[in-house]
């Protein structure tokens, strides 16, 4: 068993437990929390480097060989996602020092955060569909409690919608898992992929229906159209740092899960999914960004933008699926180019997620600083920040421009990759939609900029003396914000090498073989009825190397 693969789950769980043990001492909890986050980050870096080095890693929990036990799998995509989780973890714990306040810290804040981090890692790493469901439950429960932490009326109202719609997602997920198990009798993703791939035509409608159930369930998690209602209803209500944590990472778990099951399992048996996903992507982008245009509170604007940005990710996935669908009938000589296009689209999604986690989390961080300084996020009550706080303005500007896709920042690369992939795939209209949405995103960002930063303080206009800014804890908060800006700029400059990594992730998703080989051993593949496992067995020469990874 490969301990490194499990560490991103085990470390936060252990940290959560230790924080619980240190219930009486906020200082100790804080120290534990920081240490835990740093350890999570370190392990996620090690895991990422190792995956880049040797390829897909798998760990059979309890030593029960796949597909019988539960297997944790780290391929390039999941390792990247776990790495991002680690980055956000470190940022959150340091930001929390300044932002969260002992009131919440005394009430298991750190425990909950680490449970959430564990569940996110678990969802990324798990290679077992039911186990993913379990991590989703952990995620739902810990995020629900974090949402309500503080017990304000608005929080409870938002949390109720959050939990109800997400429970609906859970029950759809569970139904889909049950139906899938009924069909193929397995829960292991790689095993399901092989077995479902051999299904005859008469099973196709049922498979399609199951795929739709997954689409809806993960779609609710990812906040796509028309399932996103819970997100704008709740994300602006909790403490700003919690908004940042959620806004940065939670919806991406849904997107990740969708990418995983659709590329690994459903792409060959339900290729038409790309068509509906393309429409969903368009509506998600447009309704989200229009929702943002109608808002006048910073975190509400940002929340709707999460939805809109998810649309870009779904767009990439849809393009990849459409290309894969067309490949069946395409002439052999065109196929390498089509494969490259699909890999580019999926690599674009991975890059976009990376970009979005950095930019969006940081915008929520900035919103948190503004909220601390002025006690509000309402644009009409804000103003004068550009004059009084030039560095904060710069930080916001960089993050907002990154989100709006202004060159050379991260969002531009993410968008560019998707646009190029879209044009290569011949999906022109969605490219047009995505570009138009980019302008509207810019519109919303300039709205925040013009109102909160450029405009003079409303108190000045009224001639009253403005309240002095509350700067408690903003040192830590600003340090984290600055760190993220450095990261954003770093990723922007290193877009080339990073894109090569995400493109590799895309190739892995499309080829599927590296994943399946890492999870299932040769003996099992040979034992499958009808010889359906044969094509996944690695050619002789390389078996030794792959065996090492297990």
């Amino acid at each position: 068993m490969n301990a490194l693969v499990v560490s991103p789950i085990a470390i936060p769980l252990l940290t959560a437990f230790l924080c619980m043990m240190a219930w009486r001492s906020v200082a100790l909890q804080r120290a534990l929390s920081i240490a835990g986050a740093l350890a999570l980050f370190a392990c996620s870096v090690l895991l990422f480097v190792r995956v880049l080095d040797v390829g897909v890693l798998a760990a059979d929990i309890g030593g029960w060989r796949a597909p019988f036990g539960i297997t944790m799998v780290a391929d390039t995509l999941s390792a990247l996602m776990v790495l991002l989780n680690g980055v956000v973890a470190v940022a959150i714990v340091f930001y929390s020092i300044g932002a969260i306040g002992p009131r919440r810290e005394k009430h298991a804040y750190h425990t909950l955060v680490h449970c959430l981090l564990a569940s996110v890692s678990g969802s990324f790493l798990s290679g077992d569909i039911f186990n993913i469901y379990v991590w989703f439950e952990v995620m739902l429960m810990s995020s629900f409690v974090l949402l309500t932490l503080g017990g304000e009326r608005g929080q409870l109202e938002g949390a109720l919608k959050y939990v109800t719609l997400n429970l609906l997602s859970s029950s759809l997920f569970l139904s889909a898992v049950g139906l899938l198990y009924g069909l193929v009798g397995s829960l292991n993703l790689a095993d399901i992929a092989i077995k479902l791939g051999s299904a005859g035509d008469e099973a196709r409608p049922v498979i399609a229906a199951i795929a739709v159930l997954f689409m809806a369930s993960f779609g609710i998690k990812a906040a796509i159209f028309p399932f996103f209602f819970w997100l704008p209803a709740s994300y602006h209500t909790p403490a700003p740092v919690i908004s940042a944590l959620f806004g940065g990472i939670l919806t991406k778990v849904g997107v990740y899960a969708m990418m995983r099951v659709y590329t690994l399992i459903f792409a060959p048996v339900f290729p038409a999914a790309g068509e509906i996903l393309l429409w969903i992507a368009a509506f998600t982008m447009v309704t989200g960004v229009l929702g943002a245009a109608a808002q006048y509170e910073i975190r509400r604007i940002l929340s709707f933008h999460i939805v809109s940005q998810i649309g870009y990710m779904i767009m990439g996935l849809a393009i990849a699926l459409l290309v894969l669908e067309r490949m069946d009938g395409a002439p052999i000589e065109d196929r390498p180019a089509m494969l490259a296009t699909a890999a580019m689209a999926l690599g674009g999604v991975a890059f976009f997620i990376l970009h979005n986690i950095l930019a969006k989390t940081n915008l929520f961080f900035v919103a948190g600083v503004v909220h601390r300084l002025r006690g509000t996020g309402e644009l009409k009550e804000l103003g004068g920040l550009y004059k009084e706080r030039p560095y904060l303005s710069l930080m916001f500007m960089v993050s907002a421009m990154a989100l709006a896709g202004i060159p050379i920042l991260t969002g531009f690369w993410g968008k560019l990759i998707l646009v190029v992939a879209g044009v290569r795939a011949g999906e022109y209209w969605i490219v047009g939609v995505s570009l138009g949405v980019g302008v509207l995103t810019l519109f919303s960002m300039t709205k925040i900029w013009a109102e909160a930063f450029w405009k003079a303080r409303p108190e000045e206009a009224e001639g009253t003396e403005p309240k002095p800014d509350d700067t408690r804890g903003t040192g830590w908060m600003n340090a984290v914000v600055a760190g993220f800006v450095v990261l954003i700029i770093g990723v922007s400059v290193l877009a080339g090498p990073i894109y090569r990594v995400t493109e590799r992730a895309g190739h892995e998703l499309i080829e599927r073989a590296p994943y399946i080989r890492a999870v299932l051993d040769e003996e099992y593949l040979r034992s499958l009825p009808g010889g359906i496992g044969e094509r996944w067995i690695e050619p002789r020469a390389e078996t030794a190397a792959a065996g090492e990874g297990r």
């Binding site: 429960m141 069909l183 008469e202 202004i406 050379i408 570009l435 138009g436 810019l442 930063f453 080339g496």
Partner: protein, 803 residues
Amino acid sequence: MMLSLAILALLSVAAPWVCRYAGPARGVVLAAFPLGIGAWFASKIPAAADGEGIVESVAWLPELGLELSFRLDGLSLLFALMVTLIGAGVLLYAGAYMKGHHQIGRFFCYLIGFMTSMLGLVLADNLILLFIFWELTSITSYLLIGFNHDKKESRAGALQALMVTGLGGLAMLAGLVVLAFAAGDLAGVAGGVWNMSELPEGLSGHAHYPWIVALVLAGCLTKSAQFPFHFWLPSAMAAPSPVSAYLHSSTMVKAGVYLIARLHPNLATGTAEGLWEGLLIGFGATTMFVGAYLATRQTLYKRLLAYSTVSSLGVMVMLIGMGHPDAAAAYILAHAMFKGCLFLVAGIVDHEAGEKDVAEIGRLFRAMPATALAAVLAGISMAGVPLAPLAGFVAKEKMIKAGLDAGPLTALLTALIIAAGSFTVFIAIMTGFKPFFGKASREPKKHAHEAPWPMLAAPVILAVLGIVYALVPALFATPVVTAAGEAIKGGPFEAALRLDAFYYYEISLALGLSLLATLIGVGIYFGRGLWVKATSPFAKLDGVVGPAKMYDYAMLGLTKGSWAQTRVLQNGSLQVYIKMTLVAILGMFAWAIWRTGFLPSVGTNFERTGLLEWVLIISIAVSAIVATRLGSRLATVAVLGVIGYAVAVVFALYGGPDAAMTQFAVETLIVVIFVLVVYHLPRFAVYSGLAVRVMDLLLAATFGGVMACLVLAAGSQELFAPISAYFNEAAMPETPDGQSAYGRNLVNIILVDFRSVDTLGELVVLGIAAIGVYTLMKLRDDQEGTPVAEREGDEDQSEEGDA
């Protein structure tokens, strides 16, 4: 070239510190850099005139076609010289103009940042790289227009410019990507051709050609403020004067013209009827006329100049479209001189006399003679006064000659050129003559005095250069214009260019028309009161359906529409959210079935269903229906309990005694707890009307039915035997792999060994739930030192123990 960009980028970052430590010398210090770079570019004029290009390239993101590739040819050189040399003059000017402003550091940071982007734009050879710089100029322009950020019109103007050029820019990005792949098709490169110097012949024959032209032009025409997108340029005049002179007259607004010129050899069809040429002539000529006309109705100094700039940009686009690259290049250079000069003069008048309205002021000649001299020279040049040996005259002669040589369009284009020319003469008088020699209706607001030398340097030099241009063209004008013109044309000219003013001193139709335009312009000046009155109906029309109004409507529509959409989608009602979710899922099912072509076969084999099962099924169904009809919560909970028990019996019947026992226990507990809690709650209230409830019933029944059918359909096909057979073997000591779970209770072993991670996760869920309950109860009161319930800690411990 890359070095020059790097130097400017660093200078931009360092500008705030330079401003802080260099004090009054900041303008000189900052201007020295672009001046030096400009000198370097000037030294390349001979090479460019010989048609040599300088190329520098570094790979950046080759997968996306992006290279840091730069190329200096005649066209780039013309623009690079304008960017750096006018830039140096503007920096010098701004050093004095912005004196004492508390955000002066930021100002120079943005201004030099813009200079870097603009220089990059005109040097870039790669399409994506060009777009990157293109967007950066938009953003720096946004920051500079909104520089006086506490003024509302500054913010609005900045946003307007950003939206219009941003929208065009993104269309252009799409166009450039399509262009690259179309070029790749023609050149046989699957990854697309991304360097402009490598674009193949014959693009106009490609199937995507119309799209490429439309999308690329969308970017160029918005950026270069062509009608009907021109309105952002006058609004951008909220920026400080150096910005207006530099960005919104000399450089940024010409970016669109630049790209049109750059792609002209590749996208032109070679005939005036071609799509490319037709659009350029159409937009250019309209803009030339409309811009000049609109300018005649303005009285604010900078707005007059802004509209006349719109007109000039139209001229440039039109000339390129008409296939007169020499005239276009000559005009671009001349325009940069006279218009840049006049904008700077406008800034001086504002700064030193406190006046913005040319209708009010006059006789400033005595107070500011040097300024007046520059203004008059620039004004004469702009008017293109016949026989005056200035750059504007030469350019105008070439323009009229081009108009007279336009084939079937000759009459129309010549008429438009003469009309626009007359308006331009009027504007030139209003901006170059009236403030200094005209009648003043009142004293200036400030005590007018001459500007300090740094502010005078650039306008005076620009004005004088206008004379040099026309008298000694060989010094710089001819080589630069020739090189640029040949780059636009895509090949050498047949005959040498003549830019000396005397060459045009011959009695000709063009000269006569030019004279006519001048006379009309002077006429309008003297009858300007009448003119304003005569044209006011059109102005009213423009105020109702004009492009600027359309922009306002669009913005209003965006706000209102998005608000309405959000009201519908995000209406705050959880019931509606759930219904929408279910309807959407049903829709997706329907689509999936339609798409896969046939309905799933639902298994209808109920033979094995015995009496007990039927009893259970019926009791579950009946309880479910009853539960929805009861008015009391208590009774509802009890009925739901019946469903739970029935399910537990199902578990027991199908070989899951553990599961059944758990389910019994849980159901009992739930009912007991619910009864305790629910006792305190009010009875159900009915909020929905009958229609809504019927719809809900239908939706619920449909969704339930679909799910039931799905279960039956899936149940009728088992593709593979479940893997659980392995568990039976593996649990016992004698296992296939020699591994064993050492247990006989299979469910237990699955829970704690085979799938222990699931159990761990579920235990964590329970622990968190407990914490949640605790915090919900305690955190609201927020009593300090609340005793900790030991229970939570224990529970958490047990959950971790399983790990």
